[in-house]
């Protein structure tokens, strides 16, 4: 659990983050959104003390984050940034092993961890361990960057626009992979982005920052239903509201019993994508299949329309 308690940051009298308090539940994905200059990145960087707050405190599982030197704190917290930040003179394996080496793990344990992470991120250890970052594609570099952040098995992973430099197709895949890995490892993720689609896709809870203040912090559906300010409403986009709602949950969550014709949808696709597929195929219902191929039921145009309506 991360408790942010009355955090303020001023640079030369200019308040960048103003008295922000929020509690981030363990094993969840929290996305901080806002326009540039809203203070979202500064807030994130105060959690691992890359930036020291002017006032307030941040507690990780009850302990003040100033109870140890900053570099020790940062070794316990994963950190991934836009453009991956890999060390160009070190191989993929050496990059991933950075924090374990700093922590003094033995070689066998480090090697095992590197192999495990490469496999987890669908990079063949035999082929990739000894390559240099520039020999990888953008998507692969980004995965190695996240793997490096997770190498010391941190409970918390901070991500600063981690997918910002990826093209849309690779970005969607990277987001799906991140969610799968988050579920597998149970890591608490705090992610900063300005991309609302990304926020709705990934977040358990969304924090909206505007001019240094936290203007709303809640579940994605709450933001759509009850935007706290006009700014939140603009950010979500009035015409986007039904689709935002549908993008929160998956087709698996909207399954109804009954038969349907046509190409089955995967249960992991968002309801928004399911609706799109229904509209495009011109059908009123499509079957939904589990990952092993068994048909779970169907999604219907009518059912999704109901879910997209303003919550009562």
């Amino acid at each position: 659990m991360i408790e942010i308690d009355g955090i303020t940051k001023r640079y030369d009298g200019i308040t960048v983050v103003n008295n922000v308090s929020m509690t981030i539940e363990p094993r969840t994905v929290t996305v901080i959104v806002g326009t540039s200059g809203s203070g979202k990145t500064t807030l994130l960087r105060m959690i691992n003390r890359l930036v020291e707050p002017t006032a307030g405190a941040i507690r990780l599982d009850g302990d003040d984050n100033r109870s140890m030197p900053g570099f020790e704190l940062r070794r316990r917290i994963g950190y991934a940034i836009q453009g991956h930040g890999l060390f160009p003179h070190r191989t993929v394996a050496q990059n991933i092993a950075t924090v374990p080496v700093l922590l003094g793990w033995n070689k066998a344990r480090i090697d095992a961890k590197v192999t495990e992470l490469l496999t987890l991120f669908q990079l063949d250890p035999a082929a990739f361990a000894n390559r240099f970052p520039h020999e990888l594609s953008g998507g692969q570099q980004q995965r190695v960057g996240v793997a490096r952040a997770l190498a010391a098995e941190p409970n918390v992973l901070l991500m600063d626009e981690p997918f910002g430099a990826l093209d849309p197709i690779i970005r969607a895949k990277a987001q799906a992979d991140l969610l799968a890995i988050q579920r597998l490892l149970g890591t608490t993720i705090v992610l900063v982005t300005h991309d609302m689609d990304e926020a709705f896709h990934l977040a358990h809870k969304i924090a909206v920052m505007d001019k240094g203040a936290l203007v709303q912090y809640g579940r994605p559906a709450e933001l759509v239903k009850d935007p706290a300010t006009a700014f939140v409403q603009t950010l979500i986009g009035t015409s986007e509201r039904p689709f935002r709602l549908l993008s929160i949950e998956t087709a698996g969550d909207a399954v109804e019993p009954g038969p349907a014709e046509g190409q089955p949808l995967a249960e992991t696709v968002s309801q928004r994508d399911a609706l799109s597929e229904l509209l495009w195929s011109g059908r009123a219902a499509l079957p939904v299949a589990a990952t092993d191929g068994t048909i779970l039921g169907r999604v219907t145009l009518e059912g999704l329309t109901r879910r997209a309506a303003k919550p009562q």
Partner: protein, 407 residues
């Protein structure tokens, strides 16, 4: 002459009608012209009755026994032809090596041929034709080696082979008739003493400059307000002519020698090696500091950011990330300094600092050009060898990082 047949790496080009079209090499044309001028119009060796009278220039045919002169002319024609046409690079390198070996052997032969028997006053020295040929073949060799893109280790090997070849010629006695070696034979002890001083001055001041310049560069990188001030001061020092700098240093160093206990005991004086050392050190600082600053500034921002973000301390970041990534640029600075210092150390002789400059200035004073060469040639060879060694070191360090830069 052998026609450049179809060899590995180069195929003759055939025109539509089947005739072989002759293609010229651009640099080759220049080198061939130089060779032609050196062989046909310039003197190969100079004969003087003693070491200071004006000499008597001799062309190749006059300087060598009849058969040998014709052989050298034929050899030079052969090399010129290989150089002129588009020929395989290996053949060109071989031609350059053969040319160098030929002039090395024949200048020795000329010395023996021209010196009257039992005359120890007569001097035979290489003349402009020889130097132009030497320059042409060195240029050809450098060009061929560049085209072949050899690995750094191979380049070092070539350097060792060249120096080894020169050493063999020197010890064989082939050149003993040449004026430079006659000057050397009278001063062998002093020569090696001054050589030692020269190297100590050049390397010692470089070492001191790296010792001071690296931390200063790091400081300038970390503390931005310091940067402009330090670099401008060093720039200013760089613009002071070396002789003026020696003069400026006499007063403060003299004062230190008199007033600081123990200073005089370790050799600090207003003149001599101390001011030379300090001057070379000051000249070395700018390239070292500037390249350290530029190298560190070139480290990708994201890599630095990530290093901090995952818990590296400042020291770990400096030695693990910034230094390795900046190293090629820093080494380039050190290379500049080393070559510059080997050349500049010659001036140290002016204020009694020793080094090869001693022979240069003695030679100028006595109008004995051979003595000047005894100081100048080793300096040039030393600077050249140092440049090749450091270039190889830089490249050996670079592969991973060079590729890394594009990431």
């Amino acid at each position: 002459m052998k026609r450049p047949g179809p060899q590995k790496g180069s195929r003759p080009e055939w025109d539509g009608d089947g005739s072989l079209s002759i293609r010229f090499d651009k640099l080759g044309v220049v080198i061939a012209l130089l060779i032609a001028y050196a062989v046909l119009a310039a003197p190969f060796a100079t004969f003087r009755a003693n070491r200071i009278v004006p000499g008597d220039a001799k062309g190749i045919l006059q300087a060598l026994p009849a058969g040998a002169g014709m052989l050298l002319l034929a050899l030079m024609a052969g090399v010129a032809l290989v150089v002129l046409l588009k020929t395989p690079t290996r053949l060109r390198l071989f031609a350059a090596a053969a040319g160098l070996a030929a002039i090395a052997v024949f200048i020795g032969m000329a010395a023996t041929f021209l010196t009257p028997p039992a005359n120890s006053y007569a001097r035979v020295s290489p003349a402009s034709g020889f130097w132009i040929l030497l320059f042409s073949f060195a240029l050809l060799a450098a060009d061929s080696i560049t085209r072949m893109r050899p690995l750094p280790l191979v380049r070092l090997l070539l350097l060792v082979m060249t120096l080894g070849g020169a050493a063999v010629v020197l010890t064989s006695g082939l050149w003993d008739g040449l004026s430079i070696l006659k000057e050397y034979s009278g001063r062998a002890d002093v020569f090696w003493l001054e050589a030692g001083r020269h190297v100590t001055l050049a390397l010692g001041s470089l070492f001191a400059a790296v010792l001071v310049g690296l931390p200063l560069g790091i400081l300038c990188h970390r503390v931005a307000p310091l940067r402009a001030g330090v670099l401008n001061t060093l720039n200013l020092i760089q613009t002071i002519p070396s002789i003026a700098l020696f003069g400026i240093l006499i007063a403060p160093l003299g004062w230190i020698a008199v007033n600081v206990p123990g200073a005089a005991a370790i050799g600090i004086r207003g003149i001599g090696a101390a001011p030379a050392f300090v001057a070379l050190f000051l000249y070395s600082l700018l390239p070292v500091v500037a390249n350290t600053v530029v190298g560190l500034a070139g480290v990708p921002r994201e890599a630095n950011e990530a290093a901090r973000g995952i818990g590296m301390t400042d020291r770990q970041r400096l030695f693990g990330i910034e230094f390795p990534l900046a190293m090629p640029v820093i080494l380039t600075g050190i290379r500049i300094v080393l070559v510059q210092n080997i050349g500049l150390a010659t001036i140290a002789a002016l204020i009694g600092g020793g080094g090869f400059g001693v022979f240069v200035f003695q030679g100028i004073g006595q109008t004995a050009m051979d003595l000047v060469l005894l100081g100048a040639v080793p300096t040039v060879v030393l600077a050249f060898a140092a440049a090749i060694v450091l270039d190889a070191l830089i490249e050996m360090n670079a592969p991973q990082r060079e590729r890394g830069r594009t990431a």
